[in-house]
């Protein structure tokens, strides 16, 4: 099933507490997927690159006697490799032992940096961006929000996901959102099943793209990245994706200043949209959007094959 939600503020600057708004919407969608919750939110760009990465799965902490030492070793390796590539780490945060956030100053090849860091066993980059903060972990929105301190997050827009695992494991690797490696600031959430996943995955891998999980949703992120790499704008890439992807899906994509939505040609997966003058909110169910309002709102369902993109 899964639940997805997104919000974009058009004229409010970066002072809106979208962390609290996203948590409110995602918690209302908990019944669609209680396994994991993820956020991709866009805040201030202070000129640094933000890297979110994990060095282990949450479950690993209970599965190995040496895991704490291993984690320490992996972090040291990450630090050393960043240094080798000329990246200067200016700030470090870690909400959990396995999940880390670095602010770095780096002007080199981002793909090379990502590949070099991910070459370390157990390490996965969740996102890289100037304003993107991608957080995902096991549990519902309240749990993840509290764990990572997201209720104070101010920004312009964000997307999120509550996952009911159907195609792959219950772990952080298979949780959404997916970062569109190697593009900074691009993230995807998806509700549905893709039936041509393996065929298209193999084709994209032959072109040099990397997949970090076996979750079909990751295909969308990689496909969008591939198209943008070829110079397509977000809306065109999304319109092409409706033909390219086979199956039932509704997905959201966010970039530094845009939020897009696409629905399959059968309109088999739900999406409700509220379009106000200053804010657009989308969710799998209206009950999520209503948590943001104490009065009547007009909403609509996008149609089959429809793609919409909003700018902040």
């Amino acid at each position: 099933m899964c639940g997805i939600a997104g919000i974009i503020h058009k004229n409010a600057g970066k002072d809106v507490n979208i962390g609290e708004q996203m948590t409110s919407m995602l918690q209302a969608l908990k019944h669609r997927g209680p396994d994991s919750t993820g956020y991709a939110m866009y805040g201030d760009d202070n000129g640094n690159q933000v890297i979110r990465f994990k060095v282990a799965e949450a479950a690993d902490l209970e599965g190995s006697f040496d895991i704490h030492a291993e984690i320490e070793g992996r972090i040291k390796l990450v630090n050393s490799r960043l240094k080798d590539l000329g990246a200067k780490v200016v700030k470090k945060d870690s909400a959990t032992e396995y999940s880390h956030r670095y602010e770095i100053q780096f002007s080199g090849d981002m793909k090379k940096l990502a590949d070099f860091v991910e070459d370390i066993e157990g390490v996965e980059i969740l996102s890289i961006g100037n304003s993107l903060e991608l957080i995902k972990d096991l549990g519902d929105a309240t749990v993840v929000s509290e764990q990572y301190g997201l209720n104070d997050f101010n920004g312009t827009h964000g997307i999120g996901h509550t996952r009911m695992a159907t195609e792959s494991d219950v772990d952080i690797r298979s949780a959404h959102p997916y970062w569109a490696y190697p593009f900074s600031d691009v993230a995807v959430v998806h509700n549905g099943q893709l039936t041509n996943y393996w065929t298209n995955r193999r084709a994209l891998e032959l072109k040099g793209h990397r997949f970090s999980s076996n979750c079909d949703s990751e295909l969308i992120a990689v496909y969008i990245a591939d198209r943008m790499n070829q110079g397509q704008d977000l809306e065109t890439a999304m319109k092409d994706s409706v033909e390219y992807l086979d199956g039932v899906f509704t997905y959201l994509v966010a970039t530094k200043d845009q939020l897009g939505m696409a629905k399959d040609v059968m309109a088999a997966k739900p999406m409700v949209v509220y379009e106000g003058d200053d804010m657009i909110a989308l969710a799998s169910e209206e009950v999520a959007i209503r948590t943001l309002f104490d009065h009547h709102i007009d909403t609509f369902d996008p149609y089959h094959g429809e793609v919409k993109v909003w700018q902040n």
Partner: protein, 281 residues
């Protein structure tokens, strides 16, 4: 075929379809109502008795229980304030009742009902009024997908636009859409009428067995075995009277609406050889 009882509904043209094959036609008979149409949890209510429920902090189960308890005490006119788009409210009502929701509902609103008149002053999510047997449900806003799935009777009216698979498996009654509908509307429709005042999405009436679909706007394309039908004066009279009841107008007038029916190439497989079935499909 069962002999048709001529009554006012026949005079109005509501039973003009002459079904063939194994289908049995059975129409409501007042004489049989006492023994055949009594439900557990159906109540005698007085529509002059009113009550209001503030649902702001209530769960769907609490809202439904409160509605039932009010009906049990004879209240026949209930308003639910602040439904907050919750799922599965207003369901399983099996008696007369005037029920108003002052705002939007979520999924499966007003499903499995038989008799109430419901007014929703907002939108509804997926599968509104699923399996409705009788009564009316009128929605002021838009509606999600599978609107009126498998309804068997009554009038289901959306003044706005609706999503995909509207009236899927419809077995009777009337679905009226003031705006447009999404893909696969009327999919596997078996009886009843669907009136779409605006445009209809792709695969309209796909694999429909029977029933009638009227469209006031453009049709993206027709589904398998859905074919244009001939508009008659009876159709125009029926559409005029039905739309007038709910104050809904079509952009170009009912005379210019188009009618779609089943080609009936798919519906009776028993008359086809296996090789012929493949050809048809």
């Amino acid at each position: 075929m069962a002999k048709l009882k001529q009554d006012k509904s026949h005079e109005m043209g509501l039973h003009q379809e002459q079904l063939k094959g194994k289908t049995q036609q059975r129409f409501f008979s007042v004489d049989e109502s006492e023994k055949n149409l009594t439900y557990f949890h159906s109540f005698d209510v007085d529509t002059s008795k009113s009550a209001t429920i503030d649902a702001l902090d209530m769960t769907p189960r609490e809202i439904n229980r409160e509605i039932r308890e009010l009906m049990e005490s004879g209240v026949g006119d209930i308003t639910v304030d602040n439904p907050m788009s919750r799922h599965g409210v207003g369901v399983g009502i099996l008696n007369r009742l005037n029920l108003t929701f002052s705002d939007s509902l979520g999924y499966f609103g007003c499903g499995l009902i038989d008799g109430p008149n419901v007014h929703i002053k907002g939108r509804v999510g997926w599968s509104c009024a699923e399996n409705m047997m009788a009564g009316t449900v009128v929605i002021d806003g838009n509606a999600g997908s599978t609107f009126g799935a498998a309804i068997r009777g009554g009038d289901l009216v959306c003044r706005g636009s609706v999503g995909a698979r509207t009236g899927i498996d419809q077995k009777g009654g009337t679905i009226i859409v003031g705006g447009k509908t999404g893909a696969f509307s009327g999919f596997m429709m078996q009886r009843g009428r669907m009136i779409i005042c605006g445009d209809a999405g792709m695969n309209l009436g796909d694999s429909m067995y029977d029933g009638t679909i009227y469209v006031g706007g453009e049709v993206e394309d027709l589904g398998v075995d859905c074919v244009p039908g001939e508009m008659t004066e009876l159709d125009v009279r029926y559409l005029s009277s039905k739309l007038e009841m709910y104050g809904i107008k079509t952009p170009n007038g009912v005379e210019k609406m188009n009618k779609y029916v089943s080609g009936k190439q798919l519906w009776n497989y028993d008359n086809l050889e296996p090789s012929e079935k493949k050809l048809v499909l």
